[in-house]
C-alpha cells in the first residue's frame, strides 16, 4: 500500500509532528509512505522513514498524489499547521485523523484570523447546524458568544470531514459519535507513544520532602494553571509540595497573569516556571517528579500525548474527568471534577501524602497500559488496516456528493416537496453508481 501522509513534521512546534515521527518509523515497514509538507524545513530523520515531498497549495501535484492508494490527513486545532492540509483534504478525499474533535478554534483561526471571511464561516455553520448555527455564528463573530460555548455546541467536525472517505479517532467516545452518523468509514486507535524509559524509576520511591509536582506542555488557559495555583496556595500542607512548570505559555497576557498570581498567592518559593526546555531536560524532570498535573478545561476531546509521556515515566497524574481523560481506566489516573477543581485537587494531594504507594502503583499501571495499547506498532498496523477498508468507501463518498448536488437541483425545482417515488429513482441510480456490490 502506498500512502500519502499529510502532517506537520518535526521541527514544527506541535505534538502532532512528533507523533508523525513516531508512527512513520514503524509504518514504513507496512506501507510505502510519501510525507507531504508545506514546511520549508523538516528534520532529516524523517527521511529515513518516508520520502518527503514539499507542496504549495496553489500548485498541487495531483497526478503524483493520485499514484498513492490513499491520502491520510492529520487535522488538529491549530490553523497554522492544519489549514493547508484541510484544504487539500476537501479536494482530494482521504482518511482524516482527528487530533481534536471540537474544531471551532481551527475554523475561526482560518476564517476569522486568516481569511477574514465571515460570510463563508456563517454559511458553513448554517450548512451543518441550520438556522440556529447561523445565528450563533453571527453572534460569535460579534464577540457575544465565547469560543468555548461554540466548541461545546457546534464542534464543526463535519466540516473537517467534508468530502473525506473516513475518519480515525483517538478517543473512543468520538469514534462512537462519528460511527453513529453512518456517513464515513470510522476507526478508533489509541494515540501512539514510543516509551523511552524501560525501567519504572518509581520503584524506589523517594520519600524526601517536598514532593515534586510537575506540569508541562503547551500551556494555554485550558490547562487550568491558575486553578492549580489557587488549590496549592490554600492547601493546608502546601509545604509538602513544590511545583515545576515546563513548556511554552504562548499567550503573553496569560503568562504575565500567572507570574503575578504566583507572587500574590505567596507561592514564589513553591512554584518555578522553567519555560521551554530541551526534551532531555524535561525527561529528567519527569523522572524526578512524584506527581504530574495534566488538567484540561475545556477539552477539545483530544487524546493527550502529555498523558502518554507521563505514563512512559510510570508517573501518577491528576486529570480532569472530562473528554478523553474520562475514558481512562480509573486505576491509572486520579480524577478531578471540573466543577470541584480546588476541592478535588486538594483531596488528591492529601491522598498522595497519606498513601504515596497507591499513587506509585497507579503510575505503574499507567505505564503498563501505555505499553499494551499505545505502541506505535499497534498504531501502524491499525492505520494500514483502516486504510485498506477506507479505500472501499471512496465510491460511497461520491454518493454523498451526488445526493447533495441532486437535492440542491430538486429543491430549486420543487420547493422541497418530493414524493417518495420522485426520490426513489435517483436514489437507486446513485446507489448503483457508488455502492459496491
Amino acid at each position: 500500500m502506498k500512502i500519502n501522509w499529510f502532517s506537520p513534521l518535526p521541527p514544527a512546534q506541535t505534538e502532532i509532528a512528533n507523533c508523525a515521527m513516531r508512527v512513520l518509523e514503524v509504518l514504513q515497514n507496512r506501507a510505502e509512505i510519501v510525507a507531504w509538507t508545506n514546511q520549508l524545513t523538516w528534520s532529516s530523520e524523517i527521511e529515513k522513514y518516508a520520502r518527503v515531498c514539499r507542496y504549495q497549495l496553489n500548485q498541487m501535484p495531483w497526478k503524483q498524489i493520485n499514484q498513492g492508494d490513499l491520502n491520510i490527513y492529520h487535522i488538529g486545532n491549530n490553523a497554522d499547521f492544519h489549514a493547508d492540509i484541510w484544504q487539500i483534504s476537501r479536494q482530494s478525499p482521504g482518511l482524516v485523523i482527528l487530533h481534536d474533535f471540537k474544531l471551532q478554534h481551527f475554523f475561526t483561526g482560518i476564517y476569522n484570523k486568516t481569511w477574514y471571511d465571515k460570510e463563508v464561516y456563517i454559511e458553513h455553520m448554517q450548512k451543518y447546524y441550520g438556522i440556529k448555527g447561523r445565528q450563533a455564528a453571527a453572534s460569535f463573530w460579534l464577540g457575544n458568544i465565547s469560543i468555548e460555548y461554540m466548541d461545546e455546541h457546534y464542534p464543526l467536525v463535519n466540516l473537517a470531514l467534508e468530502n473525506s472517505v473516513g475518519a480515525i479517532a483517538h478517543n473512543l467516545n468520538i469514534y462512537k459519535i462519528l460511527e453513529r452518523e453512518k456517513r464515513w468509514f470510522v476507526g478508533y486507535v489509541p494515540l501512539p507513544y514510543k516509551s523511552q524509559s524501560k525501567s519504572t524509576n518509581k520503584i524506589n520511591f523517594d520519600r524526601s520532602l517536598p514532593y515534586r509536582l510537575i506540569l508541562f506542555g503547551y500551556l494555554n488557559s485550558n490547562r487550568c494553571l491558575d486553578i492549580v495555583l489557587e488549590a496549592l496556595s490554600t492547601f493546608s500542607d502546601k509545604n509538602a509540595f513544590r511545583l515545576d512548570i515546563y513548556g511554552r505559555i504562548l499567550n503573553k497576557k496569560y503568562f504575565t497573569s500567572i507570574k503575578e498570581k504566583i507572587k500574590t498567592l505567596g507561592l514564589s518559593d513553591r512554584v518555578k516556571i522553567h519555560g521551554f526546555v530541551e526534551e532531555s531536560i524535561l525527561d529528567k524532570a519527569l523522572a524526578n517528579a512524584h506527581l504530574a498535573i495534566n488538567l484540561r478545561y475545556p477539552t477539545m476531546e483530544e487524546a493527550s500525548a502529555s498523558q502518554l509521556r507521563i505514563w512512559s515515566q510510570a508517573l501518577p497524574s491528576l486529570v480532569t474527568k472530562i473528554g478523553w481523560y474520562a475514558t481512562l481506566p480509573q486505576d491509572t489516573v486520579a480524577f478531578v471534577r471540573h466543577d470541584r477543581f480546588v476541592e478535588d485537587i486538594q483531596q488528591q494531594l492529601q491522598k498522595f501524602l497519606d498513601n504515596p504507594e497507591e499513587f506509585v502503583a497507579m503510575g505503574k499501571r499507567g505505564k503498563r497500559l501505555l505499553e499494551e495499547q499505545h505502541t506505535p506498532e499497534i498504531y501502524a498496523k491499525a492505520i494500514v488496516d483502516f486504510s485498506e477498508k477506507a479505500c472501499q468507501f471512496r465510491c460511497k463518498s461520491v454518493g454523498y456528493q451526488l445526493i447533495n448536488r441532486l437535492c440542491e437541483q430538486m429543491s430549486d425545482l420543487s420547493n422541497y416537496q418530493f414524493s417518495e417515488q420522485e426520490i426513489k429513482r435517483p436514489a437507486e441510480a446513485i446507489h448503483f453508481l457508488t455502492f459496491r456490490s
Partner: protein
C-alpha cells in the same frame, strides 16, 4: 425489433465512434429492424461532470417509448452503456480509458484532478456493476477485450466490423508518399512520425489528413515540422472528403499508423482494403491484431529511429511494398469481416 443504440458524442467532434454508431444503425435497419440512436453529449471536465453524465445515463428510461416496448438496447460507449434496460447487449468501443489503461500516463487527464482517484474508482465500480446487467458483452477488438479482462475481470468477445464504405476502397499505382489519415491528436502520435521523417535516410514524404480538436496541438505540429526542416516532406491536408481520402489511400506507397494503444483503428482496415502495407508500432494496440510484420506491413518500436528504419525499408523496396499490400488485402478478405455476422451476434 425495436432497438436503441446508445452512445455519447462530444458536440462538434466527429470521429470513428460516430461512424461506428451510424454504420451499426444502417446495418440493423438493413436487417429489418427499427433503430434509433440515443446519444448523450459528453463532457469530461471538470472531473465532476463525468459523475453527472453517469447519473444522467442511469436515470434514463428506455424500457418503452410512446407505450411501445423497446426490445433491445445496444450500448457502445461509456457512460451511455450505463442506461438500464432489461435486454441490453454491450458492444464496447472503449471504456473511459483515463480510468483504465491511460490512468497516470501522459495521456491521462483524470489523474490531474484532485478527486481523480475517487472518480476513477466510481467509474470502475459502475462499469463492473453494469457488466453484470448485460445479456452479453462484445467489444470491437481483442485489445478492448484484453483491457476488460485486465481491469474488470470480465470476459468478452471481440466482434470485428468493416469500416465505412469498405466496398469503395481500391488500389492504384503508388505516388511516392506515405499516408496518415487521422485526427491530429497526442495519442495518434503524429509527432512521432514527424521525428521519424527527420530520421529517415531517404526523402520520405508523409501526407497527413485530419484536423485537430485542439488548435494548439495542430500549431505545435506545424512548428515542429519547421524546426525539423521537413516542411516539404510532411504535408498537412486538414479535413478531406471521404472520396479524397479513398483516393489518397489508393495512391499511397504505404499507410503509416502508429497510435498509442488504439482500440480498433479503421485506418488499418482501410489500408488493407486499399491493398497497402501498414506501418505501425509495437504498442499500437488494435492495428497489431491485423498487421503481420513483413507479411502485410511493418511493426516498429515506438521510437523515431525504429520507425524511420521501417519507413526507409518500404520506401526503398517498392515492389516488396506492393507485395505486402496485396497480402494485406488477401488477409482482410480471409477474416470474413461483415456486418451480417455482427448483427447475428448482437441480436439476442
Amino acid at each position: 425489433m425495436k432497438i436503441i443504440v446508445t452512445t455519447v458524442q462530444v458536440p462538434f467532434v466527429r470521429g470513428g465512434a460516430e461512424v461506428h454508431a451510424e454504420s451499426l444503425v444502417n446495418a440493423l435497419k438493413s436487417a429489418g429492424h427499427q433503430v434509433e440512436i440515443v446519444s448523450i453529449p459528453f463532457k469530461w471536465y471538470p472531473s465532476e461532470r463525468i459523475l453527472d453524465m453517469m447519473l444522467v445515463s442511469r436515470l434514463l428510461d428506455l424500457s418503452e417509448s410512446n407505450g411501445k416496448k423497446i426490445d433491445l438496447v445496444i450500448g457502445l460507449k461509456f457512460p451511455a452503456y450505463l442506461i438500464p434496460h432489461h435486454n441490453k447487449v454491450l458492444w464496447i468501443l472503449h471504456q473511459h480509458r483515463d480510468a483504465y489503461d491511460l490512468w497516470g500516463s501522459k495521456f491521462c487527464g483524470l489523474s490531474q484532478y484532485a478527486n481523480g482517484l475517487q472518480i476513477r474508482e466510481t467509474i470502475i465500480n459502475a462499469d463492473n456493476k453494469v457488466f453484470h446487467e448485460c445479456k452479453a458483452i462484445y467489444t470491437n477488438s481483442n485489445t478492448v477485450s484484453q483491457r476488460l479482462k485486465k481491469f474488470n475481470y470480465f470476459n468478452s468477445i471481440p466482434l470485428y466490423h468493416p469500416p465505412q464504405n469498405a466496398e469503395l476502397f481500391y488500389c492504384q499505382d503508388e505516388q511516392s508518399y506515405f499516408f496518415f489519415p487521422s485526427r491530429l491528436n497526442l495519442m495518434k502520435r503524429q509527432e512521432l512520425v514527424l521525428q521519424a521523417i527527420a530520421a529517415t535516410s531517404n526523402s520520405v514524404k508523409v501526407i497527413f489528413a485530419g484536423e485537430s480538436e485542439d488548435k494548439s496541438y495542430e500549431n505545435y505540429l506545424i512548428n515542429l515540422t519547421k524546426q525539423l526542416k521537413i516542411s516539404d516532406r510532411a504535408i498537412f491536408l486538414g479535413r478531406i472528403s471521404e472520396e479524397e481520402k479513398i483516393k489518397y489511400y489508393s495512391e499511397a506507397t504505404a499507410i503509416i499508423y502508429p497510435p498509442f494503444n488504439e482500440d480498433y483503428g479503421y485506418v488499418t482496415l482501410e489500408g488493407m482494403l486499399a491493398s497497402k502495407p501498414i506501418i505501425t508500432c509495437t504498442d499500437s494496440g488494435g492495428p497489431l491484431e491485423f498487421i503481420r510484420h513483413e507479411e502485410t506491413g511493418a511493426i516498429a518500436e515506438p521510437t523515431p529511429e525504429s520507425l524511420a528504419l521501417a519507413m526507409d525499408k518500404i520506401w526503398e523496396n517498392r515492389t516488396w511494398a506492393s507485395q505486402l499490400g496485396r497480402a494485406a488485402r488477401e488477409y482482410y478478405n480471409s477474416l470474413g469481416i461483415t456486418w451480417s455476422k455482427v448483427i447475428e451476434k448482437l441480436i439476442v
